[in-house]
């Protein structure tokens, strides 16, 4: 469609990184506006104004992505833009927008809203950069940008000690994994002498397997694993999901995962494709696919079984997120070209449903309930609309047709089974994934059961739902349903984009 | 005769009427039984006419009907009437209205009762005229349910257990039979009696079983034996063949007497009919191998049942055991047909006589047993309770007619020459003496003991000093006399002129024996 730009000028760089710039500018605008509203930033109207501004920025960025984004790579191939990144970034931007919309629905506000919005925008910028990164340093910078913003955002509710505790824990674990990542990268540089992913691959083609390289890879994977909340690097997730402000939790759960998976896929395949090895049933060679497979197994098992025991819904969602990361790792492990496309589709659609879930939780909390099973009781009678939305979102996460969650999972499995020298390579992993899904069905149904069954019909103290929450949740539900029934437009575009 | 489907008419007319009756409200339909009687009589009259017509040219099965029913199983709706079927149709025609009339005074739920009787009537006719197993089984099973209910709902105390036992034994027997026959059908691809018999005579049957039924490497003989065993067992329970007779005495005892008439007169014949129709033509070669043990058991059964009859106090039970005994002779004869003849014409003639004897005995026993149980019912009715052998005496003085006619029937049962019971037994024994002498010798004792207990019965009940019941005991009423007299006459006439029946039977007998002649 558009010609590739090989950048030489700042103008070119600007045009390639258009969306990122727009978001940065928006953040600055927001900060400025918030300073002028110094006294009134804690009240709702002012906050909402800020959020609207942020949303405008997000919207513009999305527009640029959709319509006007040129393709190409920045000098030194540090940063690149392709069809695939376009779509993934679009997804991230949409999810970020939805998370911001969640914020619109919040009734009670914390101070320092300007910083809040700016940080969200910066985190998003970080994610976009992450997606486009093609160079180890770039990856690290983008990752840190996102991570630091998210650490602060997670602990934004300074008044509650548990929030700060969690944020601190998040920061510590995150810091450690960043260190791992950096150390891994340095080892890789040491072995290959390059930092750009394609250069690394070229370099490795002529080399034999080096134990130092393996060590580097493993350490890098540990770092990435933290980002995508794969077991056993997932410890931070339950606490953060539980205590972070809702928009933040939603952002972490949706957009940052999308970015994390995309970059993981690129890192592994672009950089170290020939060291992939294989774990197919009859054809076992050593390589990083084995590690990915192991991570996938651990995530699926630990995530689902831990979720079984939870009574707090946010923690349950966190553990189920771990499990979903496990499923997505199957797509990473798949040697076919369909793999990365299916992973992105999966995480994006999962992101939509998770945002919707957080929206529902927000409504629950703002009506004075805690986010646990008890407050779901007799939801059927307090708000039929909420129950319906809950049902659709939960069933989508459980992977029941005709919701999109099923299709995305199906796509993932097909990708895993497809395209390699041995057909049906990763069949055992698929079997495990299906088994894990069965386990997950148990706790998902428990949620629905609580909403439908318990409680008596005689005290329907109905829920107050404001317009923003209503629109948000309805949007996500509509998205889940429509994408489930008519996935073709998006799916085909995504698949084609990655196929190039 | 015109081309109306006469057999279907006689079957379905009472069947459908009977089913309708089952749904009628008891209080509001007191006239129902008259209608039912009319239907029953009409059916019987038509049946008799059919028998007469069929007899005229007995070498060809008459009144054939065929209609494609379930092609995927190879099953047609096919009826026909040959000599043997005709005989049984005649028997049915005679006994059913008799039993119907004998039930006139039933005390509750009349339409349902008569409905059951009518359904049995229709299904019996179906059983005896079916040309293939599917249809045979169809009617056979249908007859079980009303029989069960007749015992259960109108019987005397103790009926719950005995009716259930009857039902369970019968069902088990029929399922076992079904299993065996399905094996045959699976092997040959057909349910038709004629087709399977033909395969058997060609010697093909064994091969078909071997090739079509997969059972690892079991020797062919074993497989055939199992299938034969299933079929034999299934039918044997119905006959009943000792040691599977346990259901009979209780059932006969607790059923209302008219029902017992039907049970002993007709339904027990279904088993024997099945053995003749299915067992003999299809497994002639297998019979010699299992002959000895089965014959031994049969003979023991004959003796045992006779002794058991002698030991009964209730005369209903006595007659029940006597039935087992008489049917035992038929079984003995049937098994004797399995003796290898090796082309010996003499033995073939013996076999012919045995088979003729069996058929005649079936008819004779049907008539005699019905009459006897009718009388038992009459006695019960007058005495108001079960008849025990030692409680009465000298009834001859107050009821001479009854004594006379019942005595005649008893003598027919003993086998007095000149009455129809003799011919059948004689032919059977004559043949068996020639084929399996030792069996005949032992079985004669059975005859002896039968004579003993039957005469003892006569003596105890009718002769001798008058017991306390004699005072109020009434003699035969006009109705009784009308009902009983045709049968008494038949007993005498058929005793002297058995060829009235035999003429129609000969072609069938010859056909079967020629297959058994090896």
């Amino acid at each position: 469609m558009q010609s590739l730009i090989q950048t030489t000028t700042y103008g070119d760089i600007l045009s390639l990184t258009g969306p990122e710039w727009i978001l940065v500018l928006t953040a600055l605008v927001v900060l400025a506006v918030s300073f002028t509203q110094a006294k009134t930033t804690s009240n709702t109207a002012g906050t909402r104004r800020l959020t609207w501004i942020s949303l405008v920025g997000v919207f513009l960025a999305g527009g640029v992505l959709l319509f006007n984004q040129p393709l190409g790579s920045v000098k030194g191939d540090v940063f690149f833009v392709s069809e695939a990144t376009r779509w993934v970034k679009l997804g991230i931007v949409c999810l970020a927008g939805l998370s911001l919309w969640l914020h619109l629905g919040t009734e009670k506000h914390l101070p320092h809203q300007g910083e809040f919005h700016a940080l969200i925008l910066f985190a998003t910028v970080g994610m976009l950069l992450l997606v486009g990164a093609d160079h180890l340093i770039m990856i690290f910078i983008a990752l840190e940008l996102t991570a630091l913003s998210l650490y602060v955002l997670a602990g934004f509710e300074k008044s509650k000690s548990i929030c700060t505790q969690t944020a601190f824990k998040y920061f510590l674990i995150g810091g450690v994994s960043a260190a791992f990542l950096l150390y891994g990268f340095s080892l890789i540089y040491g072995v290959t002498g390059h930092m750009q992913l394609t250069d690394i691959q070229v370099n490795l083609a002529s080399k034999s397997t080096d134990p130092l390289l393996a060590l580097g890879l493993i350490m890098a994977l540990a770092g990435f694993g933290f980002k995508i909340a794969a077991a056993p690097f997932h410890m931070w997730a339950p606490d953060v999901y539980q205590t972070a402000p809702t928009p933040v939790a939603s952002l972490i759960a949706s957009a940052s995962k999308v970015a994390g998976f995309f970059v993981l896929g690129r890192f592994l395949w672009e950089g170290f494709g020939q060291h992939a090895g294989s774990i197919q049933v009859t054809h076992w060679t050593s390589g990083w696919i084995g590690i990915i497979g192991l991570l996938a197994c651990l995530s699926m098992v630990i995530g689902n079984f831990a979720a079984l025991k939870q009574i707090n819904l946010r923690r349950l969602l966190a553990y189920s997120a771990v499990a979903h990361s496990g499923y997505a790792l199957l797509g990473i492990a798949s040697p076919s070209t369909l793999g990365p496309a299916s992973v992105s589709f999966y995480m994006m659609t999962y992101g939509i449903s998770i945002v919707g879930m957080f929206g529902l939780l927000q409504i629950l909390e703002q009506n004075g309930h805690a986010s646990d099973f008890k407050s779901l009781e007799s939801l059927r009678f307090r708000s039929g609309w909420m129950t319906a939305c809950l049902t659709i979102l939960i069933l989508s996460m459980a992977g029941i047709p005709p919701m999109v969650g099923f299709l995305a999972k199906f796509n993932l499995f097909i990708a895993a089974l497809k395209g390699s020298s041995q057909p049906l390579g990763l069949i055992l992993l698929v079997v495990l994934a299906l088994g894990a899904s069965a386990v997950s069905l148990y706790y998902y149904l428990k949620i629905l059961k609580a909403a439908f069954c318990k409680g008596d019909c005689d005290q329907p103290a109905s829920m107050t739902i404001n317009a923003y929450q209503f629109t948000l949740v309805s949007l996500t539900v509509a998205g889940v349903l429509l994408l489930g029934l008519f996935p073709e437009p998006i799916l085909s575009r995504l698949t084609n984009a990655f196929g190039i | 005769m015109t081309s109306l489907p006469w057999l279907s008419i006689v079957i379905w007319m009472p069947l459908i009427t009977g089913i309708i009756f089952l749904f009628l409200h008891p209080k509001k339909n007191l006239k129902a039984r008259h209608v039912g009687l009319g239907i029953s009589l009409l059916t019987s009259i038509i049946s008799v006419i059919l028998w007469v017509v069929g007899r005229a040219d007995a070498s060809v099965p008459a009144f054939e009907e065929r209609f494609t029913w379930i092609p995927t199983l190879g099953v047609d709706y096919a009826l026909s009437m040959d000599g043997l079927s005709g005989l049984m149709v005649l028997l049915t025609a005679l006994i059913m209205p008799f039993a119907y009339a004998a039930s006139w005074k039933i005390d509750h739920d009349e339409p349902r009762y008569f409905g059951c009787l009518l359904v049995i009537h229709g299904s019996l006719l179906g059983v005896f005229t079916a040309s293939n197993f599917f249809l045979w089984f169809f009617f056979y099973e249908i007859s079980l349910v009303p029989a069960f209910f007749l015992v259960r709902l109108w019987g005397s105390p103790g009926k719950d257990r005995s009716s259930l036992r009857f039902f369970v034994y019968s069902m088990v027997g029929s399922i076992v039979l079904l299993l065996g026959f399905l094996a045959l059908a699976s092997a040959t691809g057909s349910f038709e009696f004629a087709e399977i018999a033909e395969q058997s005579q060609n010697g093909n049957l064994a091969n078909l079983i071997g090739s079509n039924l997969g059972w690892f490497d079991m020797p062919l003989g074993w497989l055939c034996a199992i299938i034969l065993g299933l079929i034999f067992l299934g039918l044997a329970i119905k006959v009943p063949w000792m040691p599977f007779h346990a259901w009979l005495p209780d059932t006969y005892d607790h059923a209302p007497s008219p029902v017992t008439m039907v049970l002993t007169g007709l339904m027990s014949k279904m088993g024997l009919y099945g053995l003749i129709r299915m067992g003999l033509p299809m497994f002639p070669y297998a019979l010699p191998k299992i002959l000895l043990p089965l014959m031994l058991i049969t003979v023991i059964g004959i003796i045992y049942s006779a002794f058991a009859a002698m030991g009964q106090r209730s005369i209903k039970r006595m007659f029940a055991y006597s039935s087992i005994n008489h049917l035992g002779y038929c079984m003995m004869g049937l098994l004797a047909l399995g003796v290898v003849t090796n082309g010996n014409m003499n033995l073939a003639i013996q076999k012919t006589s045995v088979l003729a004897g069996i058929m005649l005995q079936m008819f004779a026993h049907g008539i005699i047993a019905s009459v006897l149980f009718y009388f038992v019912g009459a006695m019960e009715h007058r005495l108001g309770k079960k008849v025990m052998i030692d409680e009465h005496g000298g009834l001859r003085t107050v009821a001479p007619l009854m004594a006379g006619t019942m005595g005649l029937a008893v003598f027919a049962s003993v086998g007095l020459p000149g009455l129809n019971g003799f011919v059948g037994e004689f032919l059977i024994f004559k043949g068996v003496f020639g084929l399996v002498p030792w069996a005949a010798c032992i079985a004669v004792f059975g005859l002896l003991i039968t004579a003993v207990f039957l005469l003892r019965f006569l003596q105890a009940v009718f002769q001798g000093p008058a017991g306390k019941s004699a005072a109020t005991f009434k003699d035969l009423s006009l109705l009784d006399a009308i009902l009983v007299s045709p049968f008494i006459v038949m007993m005498v006439v058929l005793g002297f002129f058995p060829h009235l029946l035999l003429n129609g039977l000969n072609p069938v007998i010859n056909q079967i024996i020629s297959a058994m002649h090896f």
């Binding site: 097909i414 057909p423 088994g435 | 259930l164 039924l213």
Partner: protein, 479 residues
């Protein structure tokens, strides 16, 4: 629909099911295969081309029979659910969704679509049992759904594998069958897919969800679950693994057929010792489904004819039995314990129910004149030519069937005089017109098919000759 007006929901549900039933029956009656291709297309639309999925609805003879069954059974089930008062609108909502999913499975010829409908049918089952059920409803509902989900996941593996191995072209069944699958592939693909489907059909020993689930479910749901949804599994097994992997079928036939036969006998034995009326029927369903599976695995024409016929027959009769136990008896007596029912003189107070149960029991045992007899005959005849010893086991199962049916019949409806002490309780209310209509509808269907089975067999038999099933039958005849 407003929750406070149950009659509105009921009527609408009845109208809906009646209309679909009528359409179904009319289609079945007018179904006439064109030129030896027994599959008749209904609609086809390219749904997700990037995955080779199309929205493809079509029907062959077997589908039509199952669709007819669904029609009749669903109408009867709605009639027997007339007494649901609480949250009736939701009840019928879930009910109709379930029925819709079931219809969908039977007429999908794109395997992805088939699977989608199969899964859609799972969730309503959970709610129907968990909200309106009885004994241990939460546990039963969860168990049923999890077993169903695991089974369907196993089937999904097979479907996906077939798709990938055949080149990831299409999920259309008629396309997939064109690819020759390697014997080693079929060796594992067949049992995985087959077992996956027949878990839902109640294959021993994966059947334990069925009695628990069916007993816990409300009557209308039990009728559908035991009557139609279990058949989804058997139908799926015939449609997918037996069609796609005939070689695999011939390798594994004998072992799975043995399991089916064990199920027949084991189900009957367990039914014999039950003291809960509904559990007897629940286990008898397992036993009867064993017949279906035995017929399927005999893979002769007779056997397959019998299997489909038994699917139909048992669908009707199971519905009838559950209707009597659940609706006619339990909702009035509020107990299912046999020893308690013995004292309640149920037979005297509900003569219609007694008669219907008698007919249903006899029919399911295999009394000639009803559909069960013809079906069982086909199955056993088919079994004889494949596995004679299994035919004997099936016969044993029939005998045991007589035993437990009679035991139930007599203990509840006609207890012997000694056990009968009239209980001083409230007299039982008479049967409603809906119950009578539903019962008569089901009895008549069974009777009609029993007397003239060609109504169904004429549709089924040609489908067995179609290119879809021919490889399967050829496999068995070369043995």
């Amino acid at each position: 629909m407003p929750a406070k007006r149950p009659d509105l929901s009921r009527r609408l549900a009845l109208v809906g099911t009646l209309i679909s039933a009528l359409i179904a029956l009319v289609c079945a009656a007018t179904y006439s295969p064109v030129d030896g291709n027994s599959v008749v297309d209904i609609t086809k639309w390219n749904w997700i081309p990037s995955l080779g999925i199309s929205y493809y609805l079509a029907a062959d003879g077997i589908s039509m029979v199952m669709v007819a069954l669904t029609g009749i059974a669903s109408v009867a089930a709605v009639l027997f659910s007339w007494n649901i008062e609480e949250r009736a609108n939701e009840f019928f909502g879930f009910f109709l969704t379930l029925i819709g999913g079931v219809y969908g499975v039977f007429i999908s010829f794109d395997l992805f679509l088939l699977f989608v409908f199969y899964e859609i049918a799972i969730i309503p089952k959970y709610f129907l049992i968990a909200l309106w059920g009885s004994t241990r409803k939460s546990y039963a509902a969860m168990k049923l759904v999890l077993y169903s989900f695991v089974g369907s996941s196993m089937a999904l593996i097979g479907i996906m594998a077939a798709f990938v191995v055949s080149g990831s072209v299409s999920f259309d069944l008629q396309q997939l069958i064109l690819h020759p699958y390697a014997p080693e592939f079929q060796r594992w693909a067949f049992p995985v897919t087959f077992i996956g489907f027949v878990i839902l059909a109640g294959l021993w020993p994966f059947h334990t969800w069925a009695p628990t689930g069916h007993v816990a479910a409300p009557t209308g749901a039990s009728m559908l679950l035991a009557g139609v949804v279990m058949k989804l599994g058997a139908y799926g097994a015939l449609r997918v693994p037996m069609t796609l992997f005939p070689m695999g079928a011939s390798i594994w036939r004998e072992e799975i057929a043995l399991l089916a036969a064990i199920g027949i006998v084991a189900g009957a034995l367990v039914a014999l010792v039950q003291n809960d009326f509904k559990f007897i029927i629940g286990y008898s369903s397992v036993s009867h489904m064993g017949f279906v599976l035995l017929g399927l695995l005999a893979t002769t024409e007779t056997g397959l004819n019998g299997a489909v016929l038994q699917m139909f027959s048992h669908g009707i009769l199971a519905g009838l039995l559950f209707a009597v136990v659940g609706r006619m008896v339990y909702s009035r007596t509020h107990t299912r314990d046999l020893s308690k029912l013995e004292t309640m003189q149920v037979g005297k107070q509900l003569p219609f129910a007694a008669t219907i149960f008698l007919i249903a029991a006899l029919a399911s045992v295999g009394m000639p004149g009803f559909s069960g007899f013809v079906a069982e005959l086909h199955v056993i005849t088919g079994a004889w030519s494949s596995y004679s010893y299994l035919a004997l086991m099936a016969g044993l199962g029939v005998i045991l069937g007589v035993a437990y049916s009679m035991r139930a019949l007599f203990t509840v409806f006609w207890p012997s005089a000694s056990a009968r002490e009239p209980e001083i309780g409230t007299p039982l209310s008479g049967l409603t017109i809906q119950e009578k209509t539903g019962a008569i509808l089901l009895v008549t269907t069974s009777l009609v098919i029993g007397i003239y089975p060609r109504l169904l067999l004429d549709i089924i038999a040609p489908s067995l000759q179609s290119p879809l099933l021919k490889p399967l039958l050829d496999q068995s005849s070369t043995l």
